[in-house]
Symmetry: C2
Subunit: 234 residues, 2 copies
């Protein structure tokens, strides 16, 4: 089939995150005494985006490592090699996901053309986050300010205010479903009704690889322990 006419939905996880490499104390390792970021190791990113609230908030919303940026770019290059035409990108509001989306688009040479839609409903199952509150994600304006290619007109299908900490498995599945008010709904509708061919890219978390693909292909949901076991293998 002509690659340009191919249609599909790609669901991917973010790249390597700094705390995965440097542990929970990563932020302490790369802040000076007066609270300025410096690159304490080459696998830390060269800079952090500016944020209005405190630097401390990065602890609950860590960026990609330098290697994670490299991985994301390579994935974009691989998609370009395969002539995959990405027409639309949805990302979790987590910084690591927005960054992954950005660098995949750079690898695809589409960062000037395709804007990232930040969809709060794509965030990780909050029960699995170490933080007991929903992180203060960078706002769409802050992300755009930091040169991320963001669709500032997209407001999200599942509102950020509806994300609750330690949500139940059922609540998580419901916002991952294809139903109305869910995170997957707009991409599914786009896929089903858009006359434009191309691929919709969804950048989420380990759990997204299961929770966002099952409803899309009509598979029944599994119980939460099977789900956890499956995601652990990601």
């Amino acid at each position: 089939q002509n690659a340009a006419l191919r249609r599909g939905v790609l669901v991917m996880r973010h790249g390597e995150r700094v705390d995965q490499v440097f542990g929970k104390s990563w932020l302490q390792q790369c802040l000076t005494a007066d609270g300025k970021y410096y690159r304490a190791d080459l696998n830390f990113p060269s800079a952090l985006p500016k944020r209005k609230d405190s630097m401390k908030q990065f602890e609950y919303d860590p960026p990609l490592s330098c290697c994670g940026i490299f991985q994301s770019r390579l994935i974009g290059e691989a998609l370009l090699d395969q002539e995959v035409v990405v027409t639309c990108v949805y990302s979790s509001p987590a910084l690591r996901c927005v960054q992954t989306a950005q660098h995949v688009l750079q690898g695809l040479k589409l960062n000037q053309k395709v804007k990232i839609r930040v969809e709060p409903g794509l965030f990780e199952w909050t029960k699995w986050e170490t933080s007991k509150v929903i992180p203060n994600f960078l706002t769409v304006a802050e992300l755009a300010e930091a040169s991320y290619s963001i669709d500032t007109s997209y407001s999200g299908n599942f509102p950020l205010s509806s994300l609750v900490p330690s949500e139940s498995y059922e609540d998580y599945l419901s916002r991952s479903s294809a139903g109305p008010g869910s995170a997957a709904a707009p991409s599914l509708l786009l896929f089903a009704f858009s006359a434009v061919p191309g691929v919709i890219l969804i950048v989420g978390h380990g759990s997204s690889l299961a929770s966002f693909t099952w409803p899309l292909i009509g598979l029944p949901n599994r119980n939460s322990s099977d789900f956890a076991q499956m995601v652990r293998k990601v």
Copy 2:
């Protein structure tokens, strides 16, 4: 001390090479039936430079892997962070070294300013190369054609025609020495007599880390088995 006034000689080894990852048969893995290069794995580079002789010659002069390019760029970024001012770059004629030099310069944001001097005398101890002949290195013209930042006016202090296969340890040390007609001589002279401050970067091989640093700091040479043991640890 003011970083811009610092003077020194940095000797480094090339980054990860494709055959280190994919083995001796790497070239077979990424050539189509009609002999065209394709990126069979994301850790292969996105393209190979054009060469007038056969593609087969890359087997004896392998390029960097994609990860090797990433490593080299990171080293350049680290030098930039440390405000190291590189004023002059010498590279072994091996493609992996020229590529390392190029990506270090890119990380340093100096690729438009500083040109790479290809010095045949910086090549690996030929006894340690698997090939029983001296590889057909890409010419300076071919490297420039492939967009490497090359000083095409530099002709080399140790001529390529003087490189012999399976050379003795003494011959190798002699071309690595600080004496006249050696590979290190021009950089040493530059270092000693130049009024311009800054750092001279030498990109070579595992063995270079010993053979080019010992004479520069006045250490006596060791016997060949001590030398081999030391380089094995690199």
